[in-house]
């Protein structure tokens, strides 16, 4: 149960966080200048977008859950399980960002989830 809660946090908070960061970066606009000073300016613009803070907070929650789970589980098990993010990502993309998730994309997502199940069944 303890690990289940941690995995839900890693996947749920992680995906929501990424969706928020995506929205924030679309507000910032396309980055075309990659000099260090320009990247610092991009950061300065990004941190003024509230979506970025929501995203970072959620991703930090997922990150600390990941740290906790890594103390007892193998990294080669933990990281593939986070592939469930693809299912959560497609769902969030459709419901939150209004993306048109095609049948083909859903099939791909299901194949990913099958892969995750195989990794878990693969055992230690």
């Amino acid at each position: 149960m303890y690990h289940l809660i941690l995995y839900v946090l890693i996947i749920g908070a992680g995906t929501l966080g990424e969706l928020c960061v995506t929205r924030a970066m679309k507000v910032v606009g396309e980055v075309k200048d990659f000099r260090p000073i320009a990247i610092v300016r991009v950061f300065a613009r990004a941190v003024r977008v509230p979506w970025m803070w929501a995203g970072i907070s959620l991703m930090a929650t997922a990150f600390f859950s990941l740290l906790t789970v890594l103390t007892t589980q193998n990294v080669s098990l933990v990281v593939p399980v986070t592939a469930l993010n693809y299912g959560a990502g497609a769902l969030g993309g459709r419901l939150i960002l209004g993306e048109n998730v095609s049948a083909r994309r859903w099939i791909g997502v299901m194949v990913v989830c099958a892969g995750v199940a195989i990794v878990v069944l693969g055992g230690r």
């Binding site: 991009v42 103390t71 080669s76 693809y86 998730v101 083909r104 997502v109 892969g115």
Partner: protein
């Protein structure tokens, strides 16, 4: 305005950074946290002691720097590319994590688990072949 070819090139380049730094960061964190061992926190003093132990590990710091580099590349690429394009395209990370865990951490990875990683990559390939943008730019 940049041409489609140069847009593809910079997208590829930043996803390459993500694939290199993301898995490396995860593996370094895994290595660092394994050294710390199972977490048993029942009060604030124990939590503080654990935090000090985590933050005094060079391996964990290397992992954090690596994951920060990953995050910078991720943020920049999302400023022009779709989430639904970037997320699947960076899936090579799964194979990379398995390779790093096997060769750096000496974790035993069963053939079935290798097969699972292969299926994950296959599924992500199918997702990656769908149109990268399905919404109008904001």
């Amino acid at each position: 305005m940049k041409s489609a070819a140069s847009l593809h090139f910079k997208t590829f380049l930043f996803i390459l950074f993500m694939v290199a730094f993301g898995p490396l960061g995860n593996v370094l964190l895994g290595k660092g946290m394994k050294r710390i061992g199972a977490v048993q926190v029942t009060n604030l003093a124990e939590a503080w002691h654990l935090l000090v132990r985590i933050l005094s590990s060079p391996t964990i710091w290397a992992g954090i720097v690596s994951l920060l580099s990953f995050f910078v590349a991720y943020m920049l690429v999302l400023s022009w590319a779709d989430y639904s394009y970037v997320q699947p395209a960076s899936s090579v990370s799964y194979a990379m994590v398995a390779l790093l865990a096997h060769y750096l951490l000496r974790e035993a990875i069963s053939p079935l688990r290798w097969f699972g990683v292969l299926v994950i990559c296959l599924g992500v390939l199918v997702v990656g072949h769908t149109p990268p943008r399905t919404t109008e730019p904001r």
